[in-house]
Symmetry: C2
Subunit: 478 residues, 2 copies
């Protein structure tokens, strides 16, 4: 990175902080580090993103609910691996007014210990299963590392956590698979590319039998975990004594999964598609999909504004999210600047000449290509261009990720690739914990895990030289 | 109240607890008192209610946002009346993991001290005003009194708080008026009757110049506060130093209002329209507006089910929230029981005879009246009946409230009326604080305040005998 020649991708961390606040997404100037405000424009974006995940979950038979924030210490501590993983990260409420509480309470860092004891009250027999429930809530983590807007925060404002309960481990594993499929579709709709890894045993969710994670890659080559899916086995069921009567009349512990995503998804979406003019929002979720800007000439203001209003009405009639920017005190140029920065995917410009010729001019936010069409085609062309932009954003992001995935046959080569900031590196691994940890130490990277899709492994473990059982995925991670 | 002859209105408190849990609205068996779970059916009801208030606020230029939950003690303490009113009610976070925090943090009981310092960063000049913002969040109150589901809770899961900022007191007062109008429309849509009172000076929101409140009345004659609107003057602006440049170039403090509603609104709606068979949900917000139940006879099951499915498709096409209950293992009677209990406003029954005659039978949940119509009219009749039910629920509830508002000319008469559990009593009052407090003591009731609509006062103050300046409104209150 050399001063003047920095591209936006190189300096994206600084770019990110600046643009999310200028574009009206979030404001992190609240006096508690890692606690931010969703501004109205950002709030609408967030709502559109959440509506997608709600739809995907509802279609697959999940039901939305809402559980308490506070967890009494004794409840929180019931599953021993879970409390061990979370107790140092939890915020603790110790007083009500000036009265010391008998039992201190954690602010939920996740809700397994809240939801499991309630489900215990609801489950009698196999006929009550499966239960597939989710909530979208704020959670809290006492972060001691440097915080980063939307990525490493203390109040995670937007945690979608699903919790499911099943009559057999097989059913639970099918649910893990369904969750992975749902997340794939979700990230596709947000134009976010990803790799899916089974996390190594030393990096599982506290209390899980196995954890699968979605990671995407940031412009600096570092990965960001954007979704996780856990097979919880019967660990919480045993801790909370949640049993059901099976078909044969035996009382068995339920099998459980959980899976979550957070506002990191939004951070990834904003980062991956931005450029030096600001955000580029996928049309799917953009609060404003089309901004209509009149290009007035003296004496023709009303003519142009009228034509704009007609376009707005027609697009709105088709449920396209469209806005007319007819502020008289701003130049078209300053409006272009503002809406480009805020990431509106499509701009329509209408000048007096366009009105005369009964034409409309489009400019796409991602490649700035112009397209002129006849007034009568405005709805059809808008829909076409929005679809094209969505497709291009997704493809570009996937191309970029795929171009940054490598394979190495030795620790040296792996370290060289990682150090150069190029991305994700796969190396052969024997599957033993010690070799895995040694890889992390030697390469100074994180083992993301084993690719979830089967791939033929060739080569020998980069540490011990025994036959490679897995390819293991390495990256510098956020 | 005499044992066997209790009506559901008399025993409604017990009824309320039972029915909200059986109907799948909420479950308060979580181990922290006053913290409950919104079950899927209740969550949908809550969402429909919130969408109404969102629409009403958005139509009047409010914008939704989301602010942090945690308030550092120093920020919380900036406005002296506010902290005095809330510090004993707040939950305090003192530790992150095992580390003691330098500054303890309150869980928001309300967000004036969170939002005002952020708005300070956003306001420069009069051109930035007004700012009208709201959020729908959970808030916390350390309740020492007995908790009551949805009514007196420790985690208020559903607090809609609006905060507005203005360039003049006049503008702020207009906003108070607008807020009152918005709430009137909101409660009308939920079929909740109310009285509006300006709260007495000893019962204002901590930090307000004046507070207006909406109270409704429960079946036992006690009132419940369901919405409040506050003129905050410049108190918070001074405490947080929030200034703007006015047209003349002077730096002035902003003027502020806030107004809130909570899940108490839902509690009121559920209570006011229920009967001994369970809930009766206003069609506006019912998660299921129409339940279609086949009445099968042997050999004609498919015939009947087909006819039902056709009806469901047609209603769904008209965006009516309709559900088919074709569970084969339950009798029609047990389905009637379940959906009546859960408050579905309209039932459609279809038997083989109906299919033959091309007819449909409706039963309205509120009065159990039957109506038979031709198949071809099913959409039209459904819409008509839903509108009628909505209207009847609203009118009945208003009639009942209006029949329980009285006037008394003496403390004795007022106490007699209040003791008999009849409802709200107005008495003439001189307007002095001591007389107001004496009225509360003597009648053992709460002074709700002065009716917001002007009314000619006749009679003399029931305490001091001086000329009455106001009618003051009394009730036993929750």
């Amino acid at each position: 990175m050399k001063g003047e020649r920095k591209t936006w991708k190189e300096k994206f961390s600084e770019w990110f902080r600046k643009v999310i606040s200028e574009a009206g997404i979030v404001d992190y100037r609240y006096p508690i580090k890692g606690c931010g405000v969703w501004l109205p424009y950002g709030f609408k974006l967030r709502r559109n993103v959440l509506n997608i995940i709600r739809r995907l979950l509802d279609e697959r038979g999940h039901e939305e609910a809402l559980f308490p924030l506070l967890i009494p210490e004794d409840l929180f501590a019931k599953e021993s691996a879970h409390i061990k993983g979370f107790e140092e990260e939890a915020y603790w409420v110790t007083h009500g007014g000036s009265t010391k509480l008998n039992v201190k309470m954690a602010l939920r860092p996740t809700s397994e210990t809240v939801i499991t004891p309630m489900v215990k009250l609801w489950v009698r027999s196999h006929a009550d299963l499966p239960i597939k429930i989710y909530q979208i809530v704020n959670i809290f983590r006492y972060e001691t590392k440097a915080t980063k807007p939307l990525i490493r925060v203390r109040e995670v404002t937007t945690f979608k956590e699903a919790h499911t309960f099943h009559a057999s481990h097989d059913d639970a594993l099918k649910q893990v698979h369904e969750a992975i499929e749902i997340y794939k579709r979700f990230f596709d709709e947000l134009c976010i590319p990803y790799v899916i890894s089974q996390r190594p045993e030393w990096d599982r969710f506290a209390g899980a039998l196995s954890s699968y994670a979605f990671d995407t890659m940031f412009p600096d080559g570092r990965t960001l975990q954007i979704g996780t899916v856990h097979d919880l086995g019967q660990k919480f069921a045993r801790a909370f004594d949640v049993k059901f009567e099976d078909i044969a009349g035996n009382r068995e512990y339920v099998w459980q999964t959980s899976y979550g995503i957070s506002e990191r998804v939004i951070a990834a979406m904003l980062t991956l598609h931005g450029d030096d003019r600001g955000l580029i929002l996928p049309p799917n979720v953009a609060p404003i999909q089309v901004i209509v800007i009149p290009i007035p000439y003296k004496g023709k203001e009303e003519l142009v504004n009228d034509a704009c209003r007609k376009i707005v009405d027609r697009l709105r009639g088709e449920r396209i999210r469209v806005k007319l920017d007819d502020r008289p005190d701003l130049t078209p140029g300053s409006k272009f600047y503002e809406w480009e920065m805020r990431g509106v995917p499509l701009r329509i410009e209408v000048g007096p000449r366009d009105v005369e010729e009964k034409e409309v001019t489009f400019v796409s936010r991602d490649n700035f290509e112009k397209l002129v069409c006849k007034e009568g085609e405005v709805v059809e062309k808008t829909k076409f261009l929005l679809t094209e932009i969505q497709k291009r954003l997704r493809e570009r992001a996937w191309d970029w990720l795929n171009a940054h995935i490598f394979k190495a046959e030795s620790l040296e080569k792996a370290k060289e690739l990682i150090d150069s900031g190029l991305g994700i590196v796969h190396v052969p691994w024997c599957g033993e914990r010690e070799c895995g940890l040694e890889i992390e130490r030697a390469v100074k990277a994180r083992v993301l895990g084993v690719p979830s899709a089967e791939e033929r492994v060739t080569g020998s473990c980069v540490v011990c030289g025994r036959e490679g059982k897995f390819l293991v995925r390495l990256a510098r991670a956020y």
